[in-house]
Symmetry: C2
Subunit: 332 residues, 2 copies
Amino acid sequence: MLTDRQNKMLKLIVSEYIKLAKPVSSNLICEELDCSSATVRSEMAVLEEIGLLEKTHISSGRIPSEKGYRYYVDNLMELKEMNAEDMLKLQIIFKNQQLEISEYLNYSLKLIAEMTNYTSIVLGNTSHENKLKKIEVISLNENEFLLIVITDKGHVEHKKREILNVSLEEVKKTVSLINDLISGTPIDEVSSKLEFEIKPIIGRYVKEHEIIYNTFYQVFKDFSSKNINIVGKNNILKQPEFNNLDKVKDIFNKLDDVDILNKIETDDSDINVYIGKESNIDDDMTVIKTKYRTSTDEGTIAIIGPKRMDYDRVVGLLDFIKNNLEDGTGRR
Amino acid sequence: MLTDRQNKMLKLIVSEYIKLAKPVSSNLICEELDCSSATVRSEMAVLEEIGLLEKTHISSGRIPSEKGYRYYVDNLMELKEMNAEDMLKLQIIFKNQQLEISEYLNYSLKLIAEMTNYTSIVLGNTSHENKLKKIEVISLNENEFLLIVITDKGHVEHKKREILNVSLEEVKKTVSLINDLISGTPIDEVSSKLEFEIKPIIGRYVKEHEIIYNTFYQVFKDFSSKNINIVGKNNILKQPEFNNLDKVKDIFNKLDDVDILNKIETDDSDINVYIGKESNIDDDMTVIKTKYRTSTDEGTIAIIGPKRMDYDRVVGLLDFIKNNLEDGTGRR
DNA sequence: CCTAGCACTTCTTTTATATCAGTGCTAAAA
DNA sequence: TTTTAGCACTGATATAAAAGAAGTGCTAGG
């Protein structure tokens, strides 16, 4: 248990370090704490002993340790009112009543990336969580068809396919067979159901069944397994802790790695803060994320920035978006 | 007019520099040229005089100047047979008969980025080049509709919209009005035609015309004006000439700037090489690009890399893709 | 016209030196 | 017991000097 002064001090050090990105010296904060720098130093030594502060070298000022950030986030951070400017800008997006959820998400997270200079990520549904609701087909011209796949969670994807020597009638027949027989199947199992349940049947009913089967097989095989959208990657280059090319290289590669990003997905619908090592991306980065859930859709949104991140602000922003999405305030 | 030996020498210097990324010394190439390093040095001095070579400092080896690269590309480069491995990998993509053009493009340019460690770009159509062919509407549930916009060049886009208190019938009526009256209109003019030609009419025929009009207006207002796809941006970090954070920052920002990328678009259907300053991106970068044109689609594909780029190989790769797309070899 | 040889230049790396910011500790003051 | 002033000490940073490496230009002779 920390004393009042220790709490106040840790809070000061975290916020100063967030602001200036330089180790915080005893001199810098002794005024605020109303005591001499020597007193601050001995108190700092105590906090370092506990493991909440660190030094970059023996005679440097202090920076928060991972545990220190954790303590700050869990105990010291106060969720102040979102700043008016941030609020205003975001509201412009949510005031628009005509967008679909993915658009609200993408616009607002893009805006956040710009405002904060961090990086934001929207993770859509995984294909095994989406079930086939129905397929539609639209004829574009003699040989080209537009196949539209709609899932139960409202995810829609379209693919144009060329099918030679096959009439629209036959394609439509196949489509309605699929809709009747395998709607409700998780997307990533559709391919195999096509093979074992549909193929034998259309073999009897449809003339050019081989061609049609192949086309549909392909469409579902390629169904984008995950909808990942990253905005503001370049902002990483703005942070002083990443002025090192090797580090940047590593982080950029991780942000391109779908598998690593998928791990970001969270079960929890609270706003979660993963600091440093916990982030699984880089020891100097923090990931703040939350799950949103609407009647038709769910997914994860995340903000990635340096460990030295403006925690209060980001948590506030994510919270705002999550709430606006979920109760549709301003949308209806 | 250069002598044979000068040509041979310039070619050697360019290819050595491309390989090693270090200024080429007289010693390194005197064996190949079958003369002493002193002879090479005096010949180098001549080529420098002409402006084809440069030094990085007074006692350094030589590197090609921009003019030197230009001369190399225009006169010395020989389009050797594409290497077997590259060819094989690309053919796997084009052998697949089921894809649509954008998929062939994206897959093959992604592959090229991986193989070469450069960055590739696909520029789709601009909205003023696309004309509205037709709209389709699919009902998802009571209040949600899927609006599908199809252009004459085969570009397709879908948007989900929520429209309250309006029946599918009314939406369909509006859709068929739009299809009858303004198909053929360039996409970026549709919004205004909607306002002046459609709005007055549906005002009479359709009950909730205000809501429907707003929805369609929004859909076309947001119609993605340009389809830009960049792959392999991180490869820039691998090139030794870009081991400088400020430079990387600048380049990454430019690659995010839609306006600058749009300038990459070319009129010419040949393969064009833009070296250094000509690239408009960075003095140390080269852009190699070409336009492809099929019966239904056209656009520009480009590879971006260091000035010290493997010109022969990239030109070969782009040529292969362009040809495969255009005559549909392997696709039918 | 070509080439061996050598002085010369610049870059790179290493070593040394000075300055600065900020700590830890001690002993005295509160 | 807690706080504070004072000071020696440490590591980071910047600048300078010195040594070594790479490669050129030039000259004189083949």
